[in-house]
């Protein structure tokens, strides 16, 4: 128990000591929130309705997809996890504690957005607090799981950035953050449902803000929960202690299974 506490404490502190993590966990999402909130609300007053869910999902994406994987890959490539292994640090702790610490930091950011957006931009707060919290946790876990999986299957930090951007950029454009899902062409909308951000936005708007959505928000919540569980299980199973790991391509193929719940969401919701 003491070991877990020391480990968790270090991971939490690391998020603030590591400048890259500090940037991606706090400065980037909060800076973007202030900029997008000011600009987008002025250009398109309708954006006001989605400021809170869009900027919270944006923060989750930035922290989990761009911030979380890199330190894990860097540590693995530098042989740090070999040191951990010889002292008996379990693989589950190595993966889950940085994930949990990242989510804790992102929860602070999300709380700042949720509280200040109504004051700064006149954005509506969530109408169902419990549902908001539930969807937030599911979306956070889904994105963190995906970030961990990216870290586990990436051969290098360069690959990590590529994989992260491969999900991040389409999520920003098609996930319903900047443009409502309803106005996206059908084919792209179908593709967008392969992204956790789309389901996070859909579930938040439908369940937490009481809006009418294009497809089932409960279904989206189920997709997020299944996606989170599958991603974490795959990440733990595919975790390797060092860079000499064999069968990286096979593991990447196994990692691709994470898309299954989202594919099901795209086909059946």
């Amino acid at each position: 128990m003491m070991a877990l506490l020391h480990h968790a404490g270090f991971e939490l502190a690391s998020g603030l000591r590591n400048r890259a993590m500090l940037l991606l966990l706090y400065l980037f999402p909060l800076g973007f929130y202030l900029m997008a909130g000011s600009l987008m609300v002025a250009l398109n007053p309708g954006f006001r309705e989605t400021v809170v869910p869009a900027m919270v999902v944006f923060a989750l994406m930035a922290g989990c997809l761009l911030g979380l994987p890199d330190p894990i890959v860097t540590a693995r490539e530098a042989g740090i996890y070999r040191s951990f292994k010889i002292h008996g640090v379990p693989a589950v702790s190595i993966l889950l504690l940085p994930g949990a610490a990242t989510l804790l930091h992102l929860t602070v950011v999300s709380a700042i957005i949720t509280v200040t957006a109504p004051l700064l931009f006149g954005a509506p707060p969530p109408t169902h607090a419990g549902a908001y919290l539930l969807v937030y946790l599911a979306a956070a876990a889904a994105h963190a799981g995906l970030g961990l999986l990216i870290a586990v299957v990436s051969a290098s930090t360069r690959a990590t950035i590529l994989w992260g951007q491969l999900v991040f950029l389409p999520s920003v454009m098609l996930g319903g953050l900047m443009v409502p899902s309803e106005v996206i062409p059908d084919t792209l909308a179908m593709l967008a449902r392969l992204l956790p951000a789309t389901h996070a936005m859909n579930a938040m708007r439908g369940l937490a803000f009481g809006e009418t959505t294009a497809f089932s928000p409960v279904g989206s919540l189920a997709v997020l929960v299944t996606g989170a569980v599958l991603a974490v299980v795959l990440a733990v199973r595919l975790f390797q202690w060092d860079r000499h790991a064999e069968g990286r391509r096979v593991r990447a193929a196994w990692g691709a299974l994470v898309v299954l719940p989202y594919a099901a969401g795209a086909l059946f919701l």
Binding site: A3, L5, H7, I80, K85, I86, G88, E246
Partner: protein
């Protein structure tokens, strides 16, 4: 007494590449065992399989009776490991590292080890800002937090300054006195000769020689090296061969003679210098070292 380490028929392959090809050795409690060999000989692979970081392809490995591949948790309690290539997170402070790893060993922080390795003043410093020598010292300190009866050191003095190297040598002696079995993988032959009770020389995954450093050097070609430096460098110009000398070369300003008859060789050398009125600057007579035996074996292996 039950051996601390047993290695029998150990083989490790990576795909088609054979890293270790069926080696055997035993290490007793209180013994320092040196694994020597050039890069890629299989030293680190052997250590990593004993440490539970990799799994053997074939053979039997036991550390205090524990199978490293099957009982990693029990293995952690009885081993201390300093890896050749490892590190800690850049942002982890020295005191955090001590608390962190001691907690995983279910022990109170070992501040005495920080003191012993001269890191007490650096407690609040992040790992990334420590010098290479300090990082190696911290790795050594962390390897000993659980008072292990078996310690693996992979190139332990790489990057260490002279004082810390001496401190490490003293530590190895102290651990041996306490009955700790140590396995030392190193390129440093002088270090192995000084510290190890027995050594094994690995070449292309096989043990090509093993025994005490003294026995190994005795098995080397029994030639004594006589190195001479003179002002006019006239020794190489002598037309008749020096008695007992089978090989002669020039190295770094010295004429070097390999002889099996030290007295006649030295006498002939001094006579030659006297006849040529060539003042002697330096004369050294050296018995074959472990390094020479190592080079002899590795060059024979390379030629084969």
């Amino acid at each position: 007494m039950e051996p601390a380490i047993v290695v029998e028929g150990f083989r490790k392959t990576y795909g088609d590449v054979v890293a270790v090809d069926g080696i055997d050795f035993i290490v007793a409690p209180g013994e320092v065992f040196g694994l020597l060999g050039p890069n890629g000989a299989g030293k680190t692979t052997t250590l990593e399989c004993l440490e539970g970081l990799r799994f053997p392809t074939a053979g039997r490995l036991r550390v205090r009776g524990i199978d490293p591949a099957r009982e990693p948790r029990r293995l952690r309690d009885v081993t201390g490991v300093q890896l050749q290539t490892s590190g800690l997170p850049e942002t982890m402070r020295v005191d955090e590292a001590m608390r962190f790893f001691c907690a995983y060993h279910e022990r109170a922080p070992r501040w005495d080890l920080l003191e012993r390795f001269g890191l007490q003043e650096r407690r609040r410093i992040e790992y990334g800002t420590l010098s290479t020598g300090q990082q190696r010292r911290l790795a050594l300190a962390l390897a000993l937090v659980n008072d292990p009866p078996v310690v693996f050191l992979d190139e332990p003095t790489a990057g260490l300054d002279v004082a810390t190297r001496a401190e490490l040598h003293a530590l190895v002696s102290e651990l041996r006195e306490r009955g700790v079995a140590l396995v030392l993988a190193t390129h440093d032959m002088a270090e192995a000769e000084k510290l190890a009770d027995r050594v094994a020389i690995l070449l292309a995954g096989r043990i090509v020689a093993s025994g005490t450093p003294r026995a190994l050097t005795a098995a080397a070609s029994d030639l004594t090296r006589v190195s001479v430096r003179s002002e006019l460098e006239t020794l190489a110009t002598r037309s008749t061969p020096y008695p007992g000398v089978s090989r002669q070369l020039r190295n770094d300003g010295y004429d070097v003679f390999f002889t099996d008859a030290i007295g006649p060789t030295v006498a002939a050398i001094l006579r030659t210098l006297e006849e040529a009125s060539d003042p002697l600057i330096d004369l050294r007579v050296e018995r074959p070292s472990l390094e020479e035996r190592f080079l002899e074996l590795t060059s024979a292996g390379a030629a084969a």
